[in-house]
Symmetry: C2
Subunit: 269 residues, 2 copies
C-alpha cells in the first residue's frame, strides 16, 4: 500500500462531494485489500509532489447504463469542469469493469489488468478493453430553422438535437444522415463535424455535427421520439436566454447539445 | 425460409469473391437451420424488387481482431467501394457475435436478437450491442513537414499517420493530443477533424484529424512504434506518386491515412 496514493470516494457509482462542491478523496486504506483498483493518473499538488490516483471497482455496475439519474445530474451540475472530467472518466471505466467480470468469448472469469485499462480472461486468455461508443448528435438546418426532437418520456418542453449511435460499417457522416432519416424522415446533406465531448452514461463519445435538410416534412419515428419540430432562431434564442415563454427548454449546460445550440446562434450573428 | 433472401458467402470471416471481383451471395438454404443470422439490409434489383440480405455468424471469431491478414488485404483491394462497405459492415457484426456468445455481466449464454444488432443474455437478461471503437488518426504538421510513424513489425519504408484509440473520458481533440505526446513526445495543438472511415478489424471508426506541432524533437515510445520522423512535402509527394526512390511507402488506398496524405498535399498546392 502506498500511503500517498489517493482513492476517489464513490458510493457505488455516485461521487462523494464536499461542502465546496469538490470531489472527495480518501486513501487506499479506505478500500478492501482485494478491491480491484483502476489507475486514474498522477495528481500534482502545490509543492510539486505527485500522488497516484485510483478508483475502486464497485460490486455492481450501472443497472441502466444508458441514462443519468436525476440525483447524479444535480450533483454533476455543481462540479468544476476538471472534477467533472475526472469523475466522468473514472465512472466510465469502473462501471465497465463492474459489468464485465466475465469473458464474452468463453464465459470464464476475467480479472483487471494493466492498471485497470484492460481485463484478461482467466480461462481462455482473451483480452478485453473498456469500450467507448461513438454517438452522433446533430443540428439539422433548413432556411434558418433547426430540427429538434423530444425523447420519449422527456418533459413537455424539453427539446434537443437528434442523436444516435454510429453503427459498425458507417462513417460519422453516414451515421448522421441515417439517424436523421430514421428518426424524422428528413434527408440530410452537407454533414460537418463541429466538436466532441465524452459522456459517461455509460461511456459515450458525443460527436456534434451540423447538416442541411433537403426538405421539411417530418415523419416521426414514434419508437424513438415523442415529437420533432422546426424552431426559428428567435425561438432558440429565447429558450437559451431562459425566457419562460419560449416554446422549448434547452438542454443543460453540461451537455454538448447546449454548446451546439449556442454555436448555431453565434454563427448566425 | 424466404427463398428470395440472399446470404453473403463467407468462409469463416473471409469473403467469397467472383472472377469479376464481386462479393458472392447464396441463399438461406446454404446455412444450417440453427445458424444465427444477421440482417444486413434490403437489396433492390434492376426490376425494383427487394431481397433481404443476411450473413451467418461463423463458429469462431477473429483470433487477432486488431489486424487484417495479408490474404484478406489483397482480396479487399479488388472489391468495389460498395462491396467493400457491405463486407466491412457484415464482417464487423458477425465477428462481434462470434466473440460474444457469453454475457460479460454474469457469464451466461447469450443469443442473437433484433435481427443481429443485439445479443440478450439467457440468464440475467442483460442486453449487449455490437461495439464500434473510435480511433483517432492524425497528420501532425510543423513548418510544412509531416510527422509519420512506422509501427512495430512494419516493412522498412512503411510510414503512416500516428493513431490511437479514444479512451473513456476524452474528447477526440484530447485523444489526438495525448496519443501524439505518448507516441512521439511532441506537443500538438489546433486539432481539427477532417474525415472519418469505418475499419472492420474488428470494428473501428477511424477519425482523421490534423494538428500543429509546437516542437520537432521526437521522443519515441518504443513499445508502440519502430520509428517516427518528419517528412517534407516533396518526400510525401514522391511516395504518393509511387516513386521507388522515395524515403517512404504510403499506406494503401483503402486506408483513410492515404486520403489524409492526399488531402495534405492538395491543401498545400
Amino acid at each position: 500500500m502506498n500511503w500517498r496514493a489517493k482513492l476517489l470516494k464513490l458510493d457505488g457509482l455516485m461521487p462523494h462531494v464536499s461542502d465546496t462542491n469538490a470531489l472527495e478523496w480518501g486513501t487506499l486504506a479506505d478500500c478492501a485489500e482485494d478491491a480491484e483498483l483502476v489507475f486514474l493518473g498522477l495528481d500534482t499538488d502545490e509543492s510539486g509532489g505527485t500522488k497516484p490516483c485510483f478508483a475502486a471497482v464497485p460490486a455492481v455496475g450501472d443497472a441502466s447504463p444508458r441514462m443519468a439519474n436525476p440525483r447524479l445530474w444535480a450533483v454533476m451540475a455543481t462540479l468544476s469542469p476538471d472534477d467533472l472530467a475526472i469523475y466522468g472518466g473514472a465512472r466510465s471505466v469502473v462501471d465497465w469493469h463492474a459489468r464485465h467480470r466475465f469473458c464474452a468469448a468463453c464465459g470464464g472469469s476475467t480479472e483487471l489488468a494493466k492498471g485497470g485499462w484492460q481485463r484478461n480472461c482467466t480461462n481462455c486468455g482473451a483480452q478485453h478493453f473498456p469500450r467507448t461508443d461513438p454517438v452522433t448528435i446533430m443540428l439539422v438546418e433548413h432556411d434558418d430553422k433547426l430540427l429538434l426532437g423530444r425523447g420519449l418520456g422527456w418533459p413537455e418542453k424539453a427539446y434537443s438535437a437528434l442523436a444516435g449511435f454510429v453503427e459498425p460499417g458507417e462513417s460519422i457522416e453516414e451515421a448522421v444522415a441515417r439517424e436523421v432519416l430514421e428518426e424524422s424522415g428528413i434527408t440530410a446533406r452537407e454533414v460537418h463535424y463541429i466538436a466532441s465531448q465524452p459522456w459517461p452514461f455509460p461511456s459515450q463519445l458525443m460527436m456534434g455535427c451540423t447538416a442541411i435538410a433537403e426538405d421539411t416534412e417530418i415523419t416521426l419515428d414514434e419508437t424513438e421520439l415523442a415529437d420533432a419540430r422546426w424552431f426559428t432562431r428567435d425561438e432558440v434564442q429565447a429558450a437559451m436566454s431562459g425566457d419562460a415563454d419560449a416554446p422549448m427548454n434547452t438542454p443543460p449546460k453540461q451537455a454538448i447539445a447546449h454548446h451546439l445550440l449556442q454555436w448555431w446562434l453565434d454563427k448566425g450573428k
